[in-house]
C-alpha cells in the first residue's frame, strides 16, 4: 500500500534540493535556499514537471523559474525557454536519480510537461513544501512529492559504478 512517509520524503527532498543547487551551479548560477516556501515574484514563470517510479517508490518533481534565471543558464543565447525548462527539469531529475542510485534506489522517469503561469505553486498532499532558492537572477523553485510502499528502504550512500554528470564512459 502506498503512503507518504514524512521522514523518507524529507530525505529525498533534501537530495532534490542538493541536485537543484548542483544543476544550476553547473550552468553558472548560484542558488541559496530562501526563507520561505512561496515564490515572492509576480512575474510569469515557466515550470517543468516529471514523474518517476521505481520499486516501492513513486513521485513527481517540479521545477519553476522566471525568465531571467532560465535565460542566464541556457547554453544557447535566445534559446526557446519552453524547451530549456523542459531540459533543465530533465537534468534536475537526472541528478536526483543519480543520488538515489547511489543508495540502490532505481527509478524510471517520464518525459517532462511544461507549464507557464503566474504564482505557480504546488498543492502538496503531505506537509512537504517546495524549496524556493534565491539567486542573482531571481527565484527558482524545486518541489518533490514522494510515496513509498511499506518495505521501501532508503539505503546508505555508497560508491557506485554508475557515472555522474559530465562523465564519459567508453563502452
Amino acid at each position: 500500500m502506498w503512503s507518504q512517509d514524512s521522514d523518507i520524503e524529507l530525505k529525498i527532498a533534501a537530495l532534490g534540493a542538493s541536485a537543484c543547487i548542483d544543476l544550476f551551479g553547473a550552468y553558472g548560477l548560484t542558488l541559496e535556499l530562501g526563507q520561505t516556501a512561496r515564490m515572492q515574484t509576480s512575474e510569469r514563470l515557466l515550470s517543468g514537471s516529471i514523474g518517476f517510479v521505481g520499486r516501492r517508490l513513486r513521485g513527481s518533481c517540479l521545477l519553476a523559474a522566471g525568465e531571467k534565471p532560465l535565460s542566464l543558464t541556457c547554453p544557447e543565447k535566445d534559446g526557446a525557454l519552453r524547451d530549456w525548462v523542459g531540459e533543465l527539469t530533465n537534468q534536475f531529475v537526472g541528478r536526483l536519480k543519480t543520488k538515489l542510485l547511489s543508495r540502490d534506489i532505481e527509478v524510471f522517469v517520464t518525459t517532462p510537461i511544461v507549464l507557464a503561469g503566474v504564482h505557480i505553486e504546488p498543492l502538496p498532499r503531505s506537509r512537504m513544501e517546495p524549496f524556493v532558492f534565491k539567486s542573482s537572477a531571481g527565484e527558482v523553485m524545486a518541489w518533490i512529492e514522494v510515496e513509498t510502499e511499506e518495505a521501501f528502504v532508503f539505503g546508505s550512500e555508497r560508491p557506485t559504478e554508475s557515472g555522474i554528470e559530465g562523465d564519459i564512459l567508453v563502452l
Binding site: A80, D83, W84, N90, T111, E165, I168, L171
Partner: protein
C-alpha cells in the same frame, strides 16, 4: 566532411551540440526523437556517427539503438549515448547493442567534440 546525426528531443541541446560540432568542421543533421532519427538515417547514407538521447517521446534512444543494430545497413554506425541517465542496466543494454560511449549531461563541449571526432574518424 564527416556527417553526424544528433537525436534529442530538446531543441536547445540539439542547437548547442550542432554549433559545437559545426565549428569543429563536421556536418550535422538533427532529429527530434527515435522515429525521426530512424527516418533521417534512412535519408542519409553517409552518417559517420550518431549522438543519441535516451528519454524521448514516440521512441526512446535504447529502442532506436536496437532498431539500428537490427538493420545490416546501419548496424556498424558508431553511436554515442548522451543522456541524464546513469543506470547500469541501461548502460549495459546500450553496450550490448553496440554503443561506443555513454555521456552524462551536461558534458563539457570541448571534451564532447574530442570524443565525437575520435569515434567519427
Amino acid at each position: 566532411m564527416k556527417k553526424v546525426l544528433i537525436v534529442d528531443d530538446s531543441e536547445i541541446i540539439r542547437q548547442q551540440l550542432s554549433r559545437a560540432l559545426s565549428e569543429a568542421g563536421l556536418t550535422v543533421v538533427e532529429a527530434t526523437d527515435g522515429v525521426d532519427g530512424l527516418e533521417k538515417v534512412g535519408e542519409h547514407d553517409d552518417i559517420a556517427l550518431l549522438i543519441l538521447d535516451i528519454n524521448m517521446p514516440r521512441m526512446n534512444g535504447l529502442d532506436m539503438l536496437d532498431a539500428l543494430k537490427r538493420n545490416p545497413r546501419t548496424a556498424s554506425v558508431p553511436v554515442l549515448v548522451l543522456t541524464t541517465e546513469a543506470q547500469n542496466s541501461m548502460v549495459a543494454r546500450a553496450k550490448q547493442a553496440g554503443a561506443k560511449a555513454w555521456l552524462i549531461k551536461p558534458v563539457k563541449m570541448d571534451l564532447f567534440v574530442n570524443v565525437v571526432q575520435r569515434f567519427a574518424a
